[in-house]
Amino acid sequence: MKTQMLENGTVIDHLPAGTGLHCLDILKKHHIGEESIIVFINVPSEVLGKKDMIKLQDFYIDEQMATFLSLIAPNVTINIIHEHTVTKKIKPALPTTIEGLIPCVNSRCITNTEGYTTEYDIKSKHPVVLKCRYCEFEFTPG
């Protein structure tokens, strides 16, 4: 479980225990293709007690994707690794508004029928609750 094991890629750390596979599903839907992936589940953690972690070989997560993950895992930390060294650490702050990234879960929302960019206000951070600016539907992403 040492980051040194990863030569190049991304370590997604501090995911709440039980959310690792779910986050991986989301990453697969949006970005990841054939890269090598390791998911650690129920890793002991001083901060969270237990946590999940994902290592992605030769794949780099951008700021937007990091923000997206923060909606599911508010304490997430992203480490970008080059040649066994952490070259960048992303600790995304949960924004007050979100544009795009995820579809509205309300199937009757206009953003789901004609492809308008979604916009949300963040109503609550623990747990994260989004409010669609179009249909005002509230939901927890994931």
Partner: protein, 310 residues
């Protein structure tokens, strides 16, 4: 009185209480114009587009009547057949086009948030005439106006909203507006048709109002100053689901024996079977008076958004 309005009315929260009270004042003047059969030219040379992607009787005709009574004219459609919408034109493109031909647009659309999209693409004022199960702010204005005319206040009134509160968009806008004016809210709906959580949360978080909730109108009818009924929104339910709810709540003379002698019975109409026809003869049944108030209130709104009401 000088008061600045936003360009559009998409959500009832686009209007402050002060805006709404101003519209009451303008609607009173419009009512006098109608009742005295005065010639009105406030909107002479102006064109209203009435874009109704969903069926409507009262809302569409009252918008059209309002614009004609203001001396303006109306174009539009009541079904998308025969328009480019049936060819797949997006809402944004339709709005950008129609905004070039008209001075103000009233839109009813089946998708929630559609009026917000329309407002983003229009250079002329957009009025939300109902967007899916979301909001119907002009109905809220005429509902508030109807209550104000009879009760002379909104603060402290006990208002019972009953029926399909899940999809009944009129109750969504109305409950928010009533909370802002300090009314007490009571919700009664069959299980499965309850008020959406986001409305309940908004009432609690923004207006510190926890509505009383029941599945039976009998629980609160005796303390209600206003009994606001709504039909089951068949068009937003599957047929089997609709049949399950049809006839599951009906306001009858028998039930009204327990209601206050000065209670107001309102309904945004159309009625299906949720108010028994025998109730029509009860002096407390005011839903057709309420429908009439839609014209002066929409005259007030159109004239105000066009800046010609004074």
């Amino acid at each position: 009185m000088t008061i600045q309005f936003q360009k559009d009315l998409v959500n009832i929260n686009d209007l402050s209480n002060e805006h709404i009270e101003y519209l009451f004042h303008v609607a009173d003047k419009m009512k006098a114009i109608i009742e005295n059969k005065q010639q009105c030219t406030l909107c002479e040379g102006k064109i209203l587009a009435a874009l109704f992607y969903e069926p409507s009787t009262r809302t569409r005709f009252s918008f059209e009547s309002a614009m004609h009574r203001l001396g303006g004219s109306v174009i539009g459609f009541s079904s998308t057949e025969g328009t480019s919408v049936s060819k797949g034109e997006t809402l944004a493109d339709t709005i950008r086009t129609i905004a070039n031909y008209t001075d103000i647009i009233a839109i009813r659309h089946p998708n929630e948030g559609s009026a917000r999209v329309a407002s983003q693409y229009s250079k002329v004022p957009i009025i939300n005439a109902g967007d899916g199960g979301h909001q119907h702010p002009t109905q809220t204005l005429l509902d508030l106006y109807s209550i104000q005319l009879r009760k002379h206040q909104l603060k402290g009134l006990n208002v019972l909203l009953s029926g399909d509160l899940r999809f009944g968009r009129t109750t969504h806008s109305l409950s928010i507006a009533l909370a802002r004016f300090g009314a007490n809210l009571f919700f009664a709906s069959p299980p499965g048709l309850e008020m959406p959580d986001y409305i309940i949360n908004t009432l609690k978080e923004e207006y510190n109002l926890t509505p009383k909730i029941a599945n039976d109108i009998r629980d609160y009818i005796h303390i209600s100053d206003v009994i606001y009924m709504t039909r089951v929104q068949r068009e937003r339910l599957g047929e089997m689901e609709y049949l399950q709810y049809r006839g599951s709540y009906v306001l009858t003379n028998e039930l009204l024996k327990n209601a206050k002698s000065d209670a107001m019975i309102l309904h945004p109409l159309p009625r299906v079977d949720e108010i028994s026809k025998e109730v029509d003869n009860d002096p407390r049944a005011l839903y057709f008076e309420q429908a009439y108030n839609g014209v002066p209130m929409r005259m007030a709104l159109i004239a105000t958004l066009l800046g010609v009401e004074r």
